[in-house]
């Protein structure tokens, strides 16, 4: 006997506004780096070191940083305004926990939609989560920067590890923010 039942899952969001990456500058020279930090562990120290190195090696004009009110929420509206009014390129993260990694990826996608080239820095342990979010939002294949063990995902790093991670992700961030 044939039985008809109903699919319990939510459909993926509509693709009426297909995802597009923001146009990239040729280099980071003269750009203002926006940092949308989620405050996970000591990742803010890593972001500061990253901005310092990009300023030194790539001639950034400057940087502007916001630390969100919780690890897995959007920036406050005034933080969003601060970033989008000043930054010309941006990094988000740190994607080291379940909900914060996907939210940071969403921050990067929102920045792209606002015309600001962005990249999310994600720990290897959370790659399946951010890839799933990208698929869900029609941004399958959106590139991000991955770091990994022996650094732990949750950002409880010492100062040397923060500096080392900034150096490790430097090339990847540069590549993904430029044409």
């Amino acid at each position: 006997m044939s039985l008809i039942t109903l699919d319990p899952t939510n459909p993926a969001p509509g693709d009426d506004a297909p995802f597009r990456m923001a146009p990239r500058p040729a280099s980071l020279k003269g750009q203002t780096l926006g940092i949308v930090a989620n405050g996970l562990g000591r990742s803010e120290v890593m972001f500061d070191a990253l901005a310092e190195q990009l300023t030194k090696w790539d001639d950034l004009a400057g940087s502007v940083k916001v630390v969100k009110p919780s690890v897995a929420v959007p920036p406050w509206p005034e933080q969003w305004d601060e970033i989008t009014s000043q930054a010309t390129v941006a990094v988000t993260g740190f994607g080291g926990c379940g909900s914060c990694s996907t939210r940071s990826m969403r921050d990067a996608l929102d920045l792209e939609a606002a015309g600001i080239p962005a990249v999310c820095i994600v720990h290897e342990a959370l790659v399946p989560a951010v890839e799933a979010l990208c698929r869900l939002l029609g941004a399958d294949g959106y590139p991000f920067v991955v770091c990994g063990y022996p650094l732990n995902p949750t950002g409880t790093w010492d100062s040397d590890e923060c500096a080392a991670l900034a150096t490790q992700v430097l090339d990847g961030v540069r590549q993904r923010l430029t044409a």
Binding site: M1, S2, L3, I4, T5, L6, D7, P8, T9, N10, P13, K68, P69, S70, V71, A72, V73, P74, C97, G98, S99, C100, S101, T102, R103, R106, L126, P128, A129, A132, L133, L136, L137, P153, T154
Partner: protein, 329 residues
């Protein structure tokens, strides 16, 4: 009877059950196949249209409709008359301070407690007394399970994908109970939140840690001290997003409640005392301040059965307890 959800065709009941398991649409246990007729009965009982949006998860660009909640409620084994409770619980979870994205994707594997107040507890048979936190009660088991299936199927929180829980835990199968309002003349939890005693209200609370506070001594002060000390084992840190709305819950067992009542304590004086004890400055690695803005952020829910002198504590994830009135047409 019109639905937007795609139809699934199976060769009978058993094949449908297996299909839902194979498609990853269950918690690993068999479900009731959601026929259109059963889903419509659920919507009718809640008095809502299937297209009604109960809330959103902006990070995932997802909207949650009553139709999807009704489908998952049938699958969980709910009777139609439970639908208003499930609908209200999902609305509560989707309030902004419920922080649904964070609490359902976290490494920590937060669960969600669904707590029911008001006369509907007795109408539906929602257990509030002996063994109310465990299996054996259809309303508790299926309402809690329906919320979990909604989290899995509608919020798209699949383990190992968007659900990043390192361990997860059994509370994620189902966690629903009621407050034992009839056990004493203490003020019911929902009345403290501004509702009338005859209102039916659901409270949804994220569960980051679930702790048993056991104290056999007869003095009320000792009981309160033990409950506070248990909460302070790991404490609770400030979260700017949730801010002053953050709360924890004490599921106060009847043996502890009796000790307090015998010495003239009320729910209000008990939570004042607990708040003062919990918010003392941090004194060590396992004696950590519980950051709560006021005594009102200590929710006391009287439940459980006689016997062991114990209470249970729910420490939240990055969310506030959220409340929603249960509307029965």
């Amino acid at each position: 009877m019109t639905f937007t959800s795609p139809e699934v065709r199976s060769d009978g009941w058993l094949e449908a059950v297996e299909t839902y398991i194979e498609n990853g649409w269950t918690d690993g246990l068999p479900v009731i196949p959601p026929t259109p007729e059963a889903v419509q009965a659920m919507l009718d009982a809640a008095g809502v249209d299937g297209s009604e949006v109960l809330g959103d998860i902006p990070t995932r660009s997802l909207s949650v409709t009553a139709e999807k909640v009704a489908i998952n409620s049938v699958m969980a084994g709910c009777l139609p008359e439970y639908a208003p409770v499930v609908i209200a619980a999902v609305r509560a979870l989707l309030q902004p301070l419920g922080n649904a994205h964070s609490t359902t994707a976290t490494l920590a594997g937060a669960a969600h407690a669904v707590v029911v107040n008001g006369p509907i507890r007795n109408v539906l048979g929602i257990e509030c007394g002996q063994a109310c936190l465990g299996p054996g009660f259809r309303a508790n088991a299926t309402i809690g399970r329906a919320v979990r299936l909604v989290i899995r199927n509608v919020f798209r929180t699949v383990p190992g994908v968007l659900d990043r829980a390192s361990f997860s835990w059994p509370l994620r199968y189902s966690f629903c109970f009621g407050e034992n309002e009839e056990h004493s003349d203490w003020t019911p939890m929902h009345v403290h939140e501004g509702y009338a005693p005859d209102d039916d209200v659901v409270t949804v609370m994220s569960v980051m840690r679930y702790l048993a506070a056991t104290e056999f001594e007869p003095e009320a002060e000792t009981v309160l001290a033990t409950i506070a000390d248990t909460a302070r084992i790991q404490g609770l840190m400030i979260d700017s997003f949730v801010g002053d709305a953050r709360g924890m819950m004490v599921i106060l067992g009847p043996e502890h409640q009796r000790r307090l009542i015998d010495e003239g304590w009320t729910k209000e004086s008990a939570r004042q005392s607990l708040w003062e004890r919990m918010t003392q400055p941090t004194a060590g690695k396992h004696d950590v301040k519980v950051e709560l803005a006021s005594p009102e952020n200590v929710l006391i829910c009287c439940a459980g059965g006689p016997g062991i002198a114990q209470s249970q504590l729910i420490m939240p994830h990055l969310a506030a307890p959220t409340h929603e009135r249960i509307l029965v047409p």
